[in-house]
Symmetry: C2
Subunit: 421 residues, 2 copies
């Protein structure tokens, strides 16, 4: 039986018919490699923006059901056009929307989760030698309602299809050449990672590396689907392979450095040190659908028997957060609410740090040498994050990138070539 | 039980979001009349042209299956936006594409015929008080393939839905105020017909009155669905009611005059007068999917034992026709093929002419008085068509319109008011 490769192309890759022709070539190349190919595409370029704009001109709050009906058309245009472009090159191809495949989701509009993918139609068409082009981002409920998957939806469609089909690999084609040790716009000699573990990728994604949506990586991890992030404009470069730690060739203590400049820090001052205060605070936030990232509670002051609770949120959630806190302040007995949005979260990520002591102290020393004040620290098994002044972020990223040997040529020496997959 | 009204709005009626808001008002007005409302919409304005252009830039011959996948997105955009616009006015509404409703068609792409419409989902949602917005022009096969219905598709969707739901009426909203006795651009005092029979409408449609596609009228006739053609910009005008002859208030000998300027006449000269020649000729044309309109075979000349076969076709089919005839000419032994595309077919149509002698002679005399040469004549029970020089067409239409008393005020006197429907 042939190996199945799932390929995903985003909106910029299919932004016009010339680009669609290029995508057709990439697809055909994989077919010519002797593989069965299932392609997942997003809506063309600015299609979604255009549709949203029309909807908003009719009503400020369009129903999410009708938004899903509206937006799901974008991918159907892409799959038809890409299929035509592949057929024009003499290859047998067929397009399917989510309803036709049976990409079954929960009955929740605008952010449904995939619960099952029917594979009979796909397998039958692959057996007939066809290249299959599937609409990403969309799903269907048992009742025949059209849903969309929300942010990162097409990546998630691709990974879920790869899992359902037991595919060899899921290739996410994008306009960058892979996952880098840090943002190349900040550190020009950032090096592309040949491989990275799901866990590292998740931490890098959450820490502000915008290559993949965490949700697709989580799905890939859950079903052990190897993913590749690669460029549709440089096919000779194999990009970055994302796999389980156990499958990785080698560890390095730190795989990457990321900075997230979109956070704000809130300090709720002098709240009584008694049970239930933090729970009340954060459940009120959760009810408003506000994601809280770092949380630090200070030791209780002995005399006043109060402490401070500090946490970070996305700046987009700041107005909502302040409105929640305004109502809560007196209830929980806080003396003051302080806000600082001139901050950045700088993180180092690496599965290798689990076994190697001294990584955290190296990070703190590096920042101290540069006279950068650390405002908050949080750690996970494979990540250490420090909150610093926004103005210090770039300096911090560059220094950490150097001190952990992430420069381009150093990495190349250590890693060697990847085995062919 | 409430009466069900099916409304259909074409592409120009939903060309932009402002127009969609206007359509929402028309829909709500019907709902406020105490009726259940099912709305069928086409793709917005130039959407279809834009999609076709993209497809053609990829390949000169896109597969009809993928064209259906592509084009069917246009109506899905319209239904979502119209539903939002209705909801924005505080009314409960829901959109369905053809797959969701179950508008079942043959498995033929780009010109499928509807074989069945599932009504459970529609009835359930109507019972819940919802206005239902359905995508026109599209269908689905038993295998879940998306099809489109071809020209006149959305009108046909609307009529078929009206038939399946046993609707009170199917209102076709358009940018004209109804069906006229002739093209008002040619005869300024052409009068709007308050009612017309299916048969007359069919002949008028075939004869070049571009208000409705004949296919939708045929479907309406088959299932006895009363149709109304009316303007979405003048709701006080009830437009034209299209019903069975037996339901009409009164007959008039001639209901309308139509001219078709898009025909060409072909004369196949001096073919042997023996059985099978005409059959061979027209089956070759049929195989190429060329529709032949008028056919006249002259009496056989006694000396040569040959005759001429003349027929008319749509000028769009002229190249294909000439290629067929080029191959056939020697086979059937014709001496020459003559083509004339400077012609026009002028027709008078009326269910009333069945019982009244003298209509044809009045037509011929009228043309003779104007010194207009009649090149071919064909008749049906309710239509008489004369082929004339294209340059004579306008003159002929005006004179016939006058001689059969179709001017605006005369008609108004004869007909009186329509009963409320």
């Amino acid at each position: 039986m042939k190996k199945i490769i799932v390929q995903k192309f985003g909106g910029t890759s299919v932004a016009d018919t010339e680009k669609i022709k290029n995508v057709a070539k990439v697809v055909i190349r994989e077919k010519e490699n002797g593989n069965d190919v299932v392609v997942v595409v997003s809506a063309m370029g600015h299609t979604t923006d255009h549709l949203v704009k029309m909807a908003k001109s009719l009503t400020p709050n369009p129903s999410s059901r009708e938004m899903d009906m509206l937006l799901s058309t974008g991918e159907c245009v892409s799959i038809a056009l890409l299929t035509m472009a592949i057929q024009a090159q003499g290859y047998d191809a067929i397009s399917f929307n989510a309803m036709q495949v049976g990409i079954m989701t929960e009955n929740i509009h605008s952010k449904a989760r995939i619960v099952d993918i029917r594979t009979e139609k796909l397998r039958k068409n692959l057996e007939e030698g066809k290249i299959i082009v599937v609409a990403g981002f969309q799903g269907v409920t048992e009742d025949g309602e059209i849903t969309t998957l929300g942010r990162g939806g097409s990546d998630t469609s691709a990974v879920a299809l790869a899992a359902a089909l037991n595919a060899e690999r899921c290739d996410i084609y994008t306009d960058v050449e892979g996952v880098y040790t840090t943002d190349p716009r900040v550190v020009p000699n950032a090096s592309k990672l040949d491989e990275v573990s799901y866990e590292e990728m998740l931490e890098l994604a959450h820490a502000g590396a915008n290559v993949l949506h965490p949700r697709s990586v989580e799905t890939a991890k859950q079903f052990a689907v190897p993913m590749r992030v690669r460029s549709s404009f440089n096919l000779d470069d194999m990009g970055t392979l994302i796999v389980g730690v156990e499958k990785m060739e080698l560890y390095r203590p730190v795989a990457g450095v990321a900075a997230d400049l979109s956070q704000a820090r809130i300090v709720v001052c002098d709240v009584p040190d008694k049970p239930g205060v933090a729970a009340g605070l954060f459940s009120a936030m959760a009810n408003e659908n506000i994601s809280v990232d770092m949380i630090i509670q200070s030791y209780a002051r002995k005399i006043s028997n109060t402490n401070d609770i500090a946490f970070t949120i996305d700046t987009a959630d700041l107005p909502k957060t302040l409105s929640v806190l305004d109502k809560l302040k007196d209830v929980i007995g806080a003396s003051d609410i302080k806000v600082d949005d001139e901050i950045a979260k700088v993180s180092i990520v690496g599965a290798g740090m689990i076994d190697r002591p001294g990584i955290a102290s190296t990070m703190f020393e590096t920042l101290a040498t540069l006279n950068i004040n650390i405002k908050m620290i949080s750690t996970s098994e494979i990540k250490i994050s420090c909150l610093v002044d926004k103005s210090d972020a770039q300096k911090a990223v560059k220094a950490l990138h150097t001190v952990f040997n992430l420069e381009s040529d150093v990495i190349a020496d250590v890693k060697g070539d990847l085995p062919d997959v």
